[in-house]
Amino acid sequence: MDIVGLANYAVFMAILIGIYALLALGLNIQWGFSGLFNAGIAGFFAIGAYTSAIITSIPAAHRLGGFELPLLLGWAGAMVVAAAIAWPIGKICLRFRADYLAIATIGIAEIIRLVIRTEGWLTGGVRGITGVPRPFGDLPYMQSQIAYLAIVIVLVLLAYLLVERQLKAPWGRMMRAIRDNENAAAAMGKQIAARRLQAFVFGSALMGLAGALFVHFNRSITPEAIDPMIATFLIWIMLILGGSGNNRGAILGAAVIWIIWSVSELLTDRLPTELAIQAKYVRVFIIGLTLQLVLRFRPEGILPERQPVPPPRT
Amino acid sequence: MPLLDMKAVRGGYGDADILQGVSITVAEKEIVVIVGPNGAGKSTAMKAVFGLLNVRGGSIVFDGEDITGWAPNRIVQRGICYVPQVDNVFREMTVHENFEMGGFLRKGDLSAAYERVYELFPDLKAKRRNLAGDLSGGQRQMVAMGRALMLDPKLLLLDEPTAGLSPKYMEQIFQITRDVRDAGVSILLVEQHAKQALAFCDRGYVLATGANRHEGTGQALLADREVAEMFLGG
């Protein structure tokens, strides 16, 4: 184990944390501030990933595209398509409350996953899509990783500022009010359905962007990436543990959970090699247990929802 | 010896102390009224008795036994019954089931008790199969009261039982209170219809900002000009 290796590993982890942070921020808009129980994160993540992959990858015979278009177009496309698909879904589903919405969105994500697996002409089916370009991908390993990290950091920062300002603004207050009591909010003239939809679409667009970042990082995507355990539930754990309703909490939660997820393996690797396979099961156990411990001691999340005190009178 | 004796109770929901030393006693067969401005800590004082609060100082003795820190279900078994100010019915259960839950701890045949409650609140008879959550505000108050009357407690804590009730029913609640007292039950009552309540109670307390402000017989408090102006609406 040496410094360069560790640094490389850290950079890699940071990139993934950034991608998850985007997902968690998107979820925070939906759940933390608007109370929308979206349990179909994986679906929007996948839509973003596949859209950007199709737009930017090299042409392939058996599926749609690739169109070899510029990267920025891919990212914008990922957000737009994710938002465009979120719109009708939200239109139909947001009238369901709480857990009904959760299961409806899980269902939609499952349907999206099955479509991606099955409709090969569109997505390459179970073979997935390869040949997705990565910005600065031709640099040597370390430089290219660092360059990508820089891009991810900039995007996460942008997203953070964007979301943070919306939430500090009256818009955020209104969304939280709708979350707390929709009847009263309606009586105060707020258009519940339209506002919810706005938040849902906004959050989904961020999830789409995260998908795009993911696919360009891996240079390929297959349907296995849409595993709900990782692309949905893990994000939920990140948000709740970081502190739902708090953007910094969302980012921090992404970091903590992914570090637990990833580093737990280093821990179980210390077990004797005959137990190498069992060690992986133990690892899953440790992940579950650590989650319990964190919930035990920080049940409100690491950074709980703040009461945003409006700026003082001028 | 008083039936209920709260001495210098301090405590709150989180870390902050809402109650800063509240002392209240209720003797046997006595109606005691608490009045005070909104947010004074009246409801909090009742919750303190019922173990729904972090009590950090003072003591609560009931019937010779220190019940500070007991779990609510144990306190009910000991013979205290409580009607909270808000959230005081099971919304997703029918009116009748609410009464059944009221008599949860009672063994044996309860039909006489149901009979009595429906007699007191005839409006509820027609609504017995309705969910309590679908009732009007006033009807819910009746359900809450009826639920409490299903038990035979030694002490009844009522938090604004008349809020939202029509004048007719308000009068009736006060009448029930007196009847129950006459049957040997002590009552601790929080009221914003302060004048009416003070007029028939045995003793009264005025709470403000989490502490005792005044106490005395109902008549004396009514007569106190400061009390009248500051707390009873002139």
Binding site: R173, R313 | L222
Partner: protein, 279 residues
């Protein structure tokens, strides 16, 4: 201003509002009384668009608003409070009020980026207004408390406070006095009168507090079993035998405050008090 015609609301087989007809003129404070379960709150829910009627029509400012939703009605100038407080429990008391004013530029997603200055200006105004309202309601000390943590009465006040945050034409108040301290209530009555006289608000007030009805309301309407039983001035309504029977109970005198004020024992004590002070 508001015309309700033959309004019906049935829950299953039960008609909570059963052919209710009502007129409210501009500038009135209409008092709505009636036994528990008479259908008063349900009527409010229908007028405010929170429930859809099973029959009948509602006209507001000359326009048929029967099918409109709550938020659309709000923008036409109709504001209501809830009998059981509907506070935004995770917002502070101050935020509960600040969220009310309609058309805040900061509620637009893009304005927060393109016109931040304006958003800030409006925000300051709204904040000032909310703080003043809290001060009036004696809630300043809990301005930054989560509304869910307020006491029962404080929540009711907050409910009322929301109606003061916007320019309304018609305000529906559902038992604003229940659980509110009487001393404060007297102040609220003043405020309602001021809003009515100076700002031209029209009110419909559901109350079981006869004192308040007497002081504020004309005309008074008594509902029973989903229908209007009688309409008239306070004294006519109060002395109607049907109202006495169904609503006030057999001994209406008992609830009048005069009974206590003229209670000889109390008078006597009061005299003594006065003497004490003199000494």
């Amino acid at each position: 201003m508001l015309e309700v015609d033959g309004l019906v609301k049935a829950f299953g087989g039960f008609r909570a509002v059963d052919g209710c007809t009502l007129r409210v003129n501009k500038g009135e404070i209409l008092g709505l009384i009636g036994p528990n379960g008479a259908g008063k709150t349900t009527l409010f829910n229908l007028i405010a668009g929170a429930l859809q009627p099973s029959g009948g029509t509602i006209r507001f400012l000359g326009e048929d608003v029967t099918p409109l939703s709550t938020d659309a009605l709000f923008h036409k100038g109709l504001v209501r409070t809830f009998q059981i407080p509907h506070e935004f429990h995770r917002l502070t008391a101050l935020e509960n009020l600040m969220m009310v004013p309609p058309g805040q530029p900061g509620e637009n997603l893009f304005a927060n980026w393109l016109a931040w200055g304006k958003v800030q200006r409006v925000e300051d105004e709204v904040r000032r207004k909310a703080e003043d309202t809290l001060a009036f309601l004696e809630l300043s000390h809990v301005a930054h408390e989560r509304a869910g943590n307020l006491s029962g009465g404080q929540k009711k006040l907050l409910e009322l406070g929301r109606t003061m945050m916007t320019d309304a034409k018609l305000v529906l108040l559902d038992e604003p006095a229940a659980g509110v301290n009487r001393t404060l209530l007297r102040k609220l009555e003043e405020k309602i009168l001021i809003l009515n006289r100076e700002r031209g608000y029209t009110f419909i007030l559901i109350e079981h507090d006869m004192e308040m009805i007497e002081k504020l309301c004309h005309p008074v309407v008594c509902m029973a079993e989903g229908k209007v039983l009688i309409e008239g001035d306070f004294h006519t309504v109060r002395s109607d035998p049907r109202v006495l029977e169904a609503y006030l109970g057999e001994t209406p005198a008992a609830i009048e405050r005069n009974e206590f004020e003229h209670d000889p024992k109390v008078e006597e004590l009061r005299e003594q008090e006065l003497h004490k002070e003199d000494l």
